[in-house]
């Protein structure tokens, strides 16, 4: 697979951000509650997409198992909400335990009574699981397709495990959050949901800044080095295992935060978060938006999901075809994603083909790069 490094120009990034922020600020007043809630959910998915871009777009690790960490974050949030809202149920434990005749709270639920523990658990537990899993895989130098298959296998293991544990976490039914209480109000209520929307919007921006900080500078360059030529990195004196473990763990933590925000806004977490197609979709968002651009991951996650809900409402059966078509289009025609196409020579080539713009004499990349390079040197 060819990777090109795309650095979006400052201007493009700025314009896109102004649009995003203006939209986020305007959204609560122009969108109906239902649509606002959808937007909030899709924004939370942008955070897991950022993680996918870090490990895939920058480091070349195609994980098909990000659903594991996404669901873990969701379960941590849901466990906190359930346990702190269970005072009116028998034995003071969440209601569903009664269905299976469980009288005593399983031990691992206890710490989730603490809001501080839960807030940390949401990202620390997925990051730790990702770190441990990643270390074992990377230490054995499992790469490429084998890594992807392994992450998908891990996803299936987690899915089946969570599906079967009725007495611990309500198994396949999952944990509902919308009827639980937070700050004395129902989590599903409009005011709490509105608060979650703002919170999600802020966290997306924070996650973007954080990811940007991770990939800029020498650490990010090593990640790109690992993606393009890992043995060379090793012979230069770096241990790629450490770098890959760290970035995989970071992506896991981001997935956890994303899953928690998605859970509280959709009202339930269940093993459905760990199905194979969902984790593959995460990769598609990034591929369509543009690998290695960060912003492309955010746009891809939000826009594709929004399109999905709009299309599904109008033509329920057709979304899968559109999504598949989109992926094929991107792989064949826009290998660097939409943002990569816009930023590269895509628009100019299109205009030339349509006869709207004159062809230039030499390769545009040569002319442009030399000019900017020259300016920088002075």
């Amino acid at each position: 697979m060819e990777f090109k490094n795309l650095k979006l120009s400052k201007k493009t990034t700025f314009v896109i951000w102004v649009l995003i922020i203006a939209f986020i600020i305007a959204a609560p007043s122009i969108l109906p509650v239902f649509r606002l809630n959808l937007l909030g959910r899709y924004l939370s998915l942008a955070i897991v997409a950022l993680g996918v871009d870090l490990i895939w777009g920058f480091t070349g690790l195609l994980s098909l198992g990000q659903g594991i960490f996404f669901a873990l974050g969701g379960y941590c949030a849901a466990m906190y909400l359930q346990i702190t809202s269970s005072s009116e149920f028998p034995n003071n434990i969440p209601e569903f335990f009664g269905l299976y005749g469980v009288d005593n709270l399983p031990f691992f639920w206890e710490p989730f009574r603490s809001p501080i523990f839960s807030l940390f658990a949401i990202w620390v537990i997925p990051a730790l699981v990702a770190g441990i899993l990643g270390f074992l895989v990377f230490r054995n130098r499992i790469k490429g397709v084998y890594f992807s298959i392994l992450t998908q296998a891990a996803l299936l293991v987690f899915f089946n495990f969570f599906n079967g544990q009725q007495k611990l976490i309500n198994g396949t039914n999952g944990l509902k959050t919308d009827v639980t209480q937070l700050f004395g109000q129902m989590v599903g209520s409009e005011s709490i949901q509105r608060m979650f929307f703002w919170f999600t919007a802020l966290l997306v921006i924070a996650a973007w800044f954080f990811s940007k900080w991770v990939v800029k500078g020498r650490f990010g360059n090593i990640l790109i080095g690992i993606r393009d030529d890992e043995p060379r990195v090793r012979f230069t004196g770096y241990n790629p295992v450490l770098f890959k473990t760290i970035i995989f763990s970071i992506a896991g933590g981001l997935a956890g935060i994303s899953g928690a925000l998605y859970t509280v806004q959709s009202g339930i977490v269940s093993p459905q978060f760990m199905t194979v197609p969902f984790s593959i979709e995460m990769v598609i968002w990034v591929a369509v938006g543009g690998r290695g651009t960060l912003l492309g991951a955010i746009l891809g996650a939000v826009l594709i999901n929004y399109a999905k809900s709009l299309v599904s409402e109008a033509l329920p059966a057709s979304w899968m075809f559109i999504q598949g078509g989109l992926f094929i289009l991107v792989v064949t025609a826009l290998p660097e994603g939409v943002l990569g196409w816009v930023q590269g020579e895509g628009p100019r080539n299109l205009l030339q083909r349509l006869g709207l713009k004159r062809k230039i004499e030499t390769y545009p990349s040569l002319e442009i790069k030399n000019q900017t390079g020259g300016l920088k040197n002075e």
């Binding site: 500078g217 020498r218 650490f219 360059n221 004196g237 760290i246 390079g373 920088k376």
Partner: protein, 251 residues
């Protein structure tokens, strides 16, 4: 234990077997500190495998490698690199998606830990070092262009600069002049010659003119073992070498 304390690197009875094929067969070789050594040999003689063994990429079935008195066998590649063994690959392997400067930053950075790289700025003396290296390889004007946009020769030189930036005690240089023009070849030879003395350099190449210009001791490898060692002149008159490698002049 390494008996020969005088040598920086010594390979003792190294045998490498690839599914029965002996890529290296009981190879012995030692290098003094500051030496420039050329290694030649026909295709398949084990030249690249010889570098793979030193840098930890290939584990020998038998024998031991000592570097500064320590055995390198069983150490990971990055640990060996940190001990002071630098390697330039056969085809230039620079990070094409990074700029020339970023490539050099990676090579000069110390310590090479993730924490150091993520939260600290590059040190000033390392920036000076990069500037110095840019001058050595004559790429100062290209500092912000992508390494992938460089010409083949420039990539070869950038990789040599990356090697220098690592400040290795031992430089292993695999075919540094493959695909270079005559002029570039001469400049590379002069550069490598100027490095020896302070650095210990092993150069592997096919190009006889280039090796001659290095004016160093030459080891000839054949079928995984050292056929003979000596100056270029003595090598060229050695009957065994002529038979396997140089070929008889047509009369």
């Amino acid at each position: 234990m390494n008996k020969n304390t005088n040598s920086l690197l010594s390979l003792e009875n190294i045998t490498v077997s690839f599914e029965g094929f002996l890529a290296l067969n009981d190879l012995n070789l030692s290098l003094k500190k500051g030496e420039l050594r050329a290694v030649i040999g026909p295709n398949g003689a084990g030249k690249t495998t010889f570098l793979d063994v030193i840098t930890g990429k290939v584990k020998p079935a038998k024998g031991d490698v000592f570097f500064k008195g320590k055995s390198l066998i069983g150490r990971k590649e990055h640990k060996i690199a940190r001990l002071g063994v630098g390697r330039k690959f056969q085809s230039p392997r620079v990070f094409e998606n990074l700029t020339v400067k970023e490539n050099l930053e990676i090579s000069v950075a110390t310590p090479k830990s993730p924490l150091n790289l993520i939260n600290k700025k590059i040190k000033n003396d390392q920036l000076d070092e990069i500037e110095h290296l840019m001058k050595v390889i004559n790429l100062s004007k290209k500092i912000d262009s992508k390494a992938g946009a460089l010409s083949h020769g420039q990539k070869q030189w950038l990789e040599i600069a990356m090697l220098l930036g690592q400040k290795p005690d031992l430089m292993l240089v695999d075919e540094p002049v493959a695909g270079l023009t005559d002029e570039e070849t001469d400049l590379t030879a002069d550069l490598l010659k100027s490095l020896s003395g302070e650095n210990t350099v092993v150069v592997i190449d096919h190009d006889m003119e280039f090796i001659r210009r290095l004016d160093s001791n030459v080891s000839v490898l054949n079928q995984g073992t050292v056929l003979c060692e000596g100056t270029m002149d003595s090598i060229q008159n050695d009957k065994k070498v002529i038979d396997v490698y140089l070929g008889r002049p047509e009369e």
